[in-house]
């Protein structure tokens, strides 16, 4: 896990100012001491603010995030079924914008929605777990229509239990509804 670039840059700038401040103190250049002290304090405060913001950052609503990949349901399923480790390299953790037919819309006992994309002939699907802020959009979707969704790809469940294989997208947002 890497520290964000902005924080590294801030730390580097603060270190430079601290060094300059030490030189100023040692050489008794009084007129530089005060501004450099102020810059060091400002830099540290900025770093703390940035750090806290980064620490408290929540997952983004994907309806506002640019997709890494745009793909059809058939193509995504095909890629995973052909070679799941290669497909993981291309899609795992990426923001995927996917279009396809709605097989069904599921609502679990806790009120969470999953939009299942795919054709009705095969067992394979792309299961799109909806971001709760977009639940209302999912509730009005109907099986048989088509849609475009955006979600984060969390991987592939091979058909190891006799339930059909599924590509899973998480935190999904509906981009376009079609009939």
């Amino acid at each position: 896990m890497s520290i964000p670039f902005s924080l590294k840059l801030t730390a580097a700038v603060v270190i430079v100012f601290v060094i300059l401040l030490i030189i100023a103190i040692l050489r008794k250049r009084k007129r530089y001491i005060l501004p450099l002290t102020a810059l060091v304090i400002l830099g540290i405060l900025f770093g703390i603010w940035k750090g806290l913001r980064e620490y408290n950052r929540t997952n983004e609503d994907l309806s506002h995030v640019k997709a890494d990949v745009k793909i059809s349901t058939t193509e995504l399923i095909h890629d995973y079924e052909a070679n799941d480790s290669l497909a993981n390299q291309n899609y795992l953790g990426k923001v995927i914008e996917i279009n396809g037919n709605i097989k069904k819309v599921e609502r679990d006992e806790k009120g969470f929605y999953t939009v299942v994309l795919g054709d009705t002939v095969t067992h394979s699907s792309v299961r799109c777990a909806m971001d709760t802020v977009h639940n209302a959009d999912a509730a009005v979707l109907r099986a048989g229509s088509s849609t475009i969704l955006r979600g984060a790809c969390t991987g592939f469940n091979k058909d190891e239990m006799g339930l059909g294989s599924d590509v899973i997208l998480n935190r999904c947002a509906i981009i376009i509804k079609k009939d």
Binding site: Y55, T58, F112, R171
Partner: protein, 185 residues
């Protein structure tokens, strides 16, 4: 003679297909598994709502699979940390459990009620498989089964190392909670 053989063969095939059909099996694709780490410094919890699970009520065979990237944290930074440094989700994308309900005979899957269940099996996380034994409850309600269990997992058991910097933030024992409602297959 031939006809008789055909009938017998047909009967056997029919029986085999009935036995092989999913009768007695329950499944979910929206199961929930969450985990919780508590230290004086901070509490960390995450939930996966897309857990796949199958229970064969005839044999007690139980299987679960959860994609590691499917665990959602309150804070994005924690989620990124978890996937990159601890679970190494790109290398080990899935956690799996394969096991049995050892007291399957004591559970009546056909009537509404709550039953204590004992579970034994193999849990694979981060590419490491370990035997686990736990208990839980199976609640039968209107033809659906809700499986609930809580157990502890030692982080070190699964070759997950936590850097010194975060040792006080992450507990050595993680509490795992399973809450899955299974429908007939």
């Amino acid at each position: 003679m031939m006809k008789k053989a055909n009938i017998v063969l047909g009967g056997l095939l029919l029986l085999a297909s009935l036995a092989g059909s999913a009768q007695g099996k329950f499944y979910t694709k929206t199961g929930r598994i969450s985990f919780f780490s508590s230290t004086p410094l901070e509490d960390i919890d995450a939930i996966n709502r897309s857990v796949v699970g199958v229970l064969d009520t005839k044999t007690g065979d139980l299987q679960f699979a959860a994609l590691m990237k499917g665990f959602e944290f309150r804070k994005a930074l924690m989620q990124e940390h978890f996937n990159a440094d601890y679970a190494e989700s790109t290398k080990y994308p899935k956690a799996e459990f394969k096991g049995q309900i050892t007291n399957n005979g004591e559970i009546n899957y056909t009537t509404n009620g709550s039953f204590a269940a004992k579970v034994k099996g193999k849990l694979t996380i981060h590419g490491v498989t370990r035997d686990i034994e736990t208990s839980g409850t199976i609640t039968v309600k209107d033809g659906k089964l809700t499986l609930a269990s809580t157990f502890n997992v030692l982080v070190a058991d699964y070759n997950i190392t936590i850097e010194k910097l975060y040792r006080d933030n992450i507990a050595k024992t993680i509490k795992v909670t399973v809450d899955c409602t299974l429908s007939p297959l």
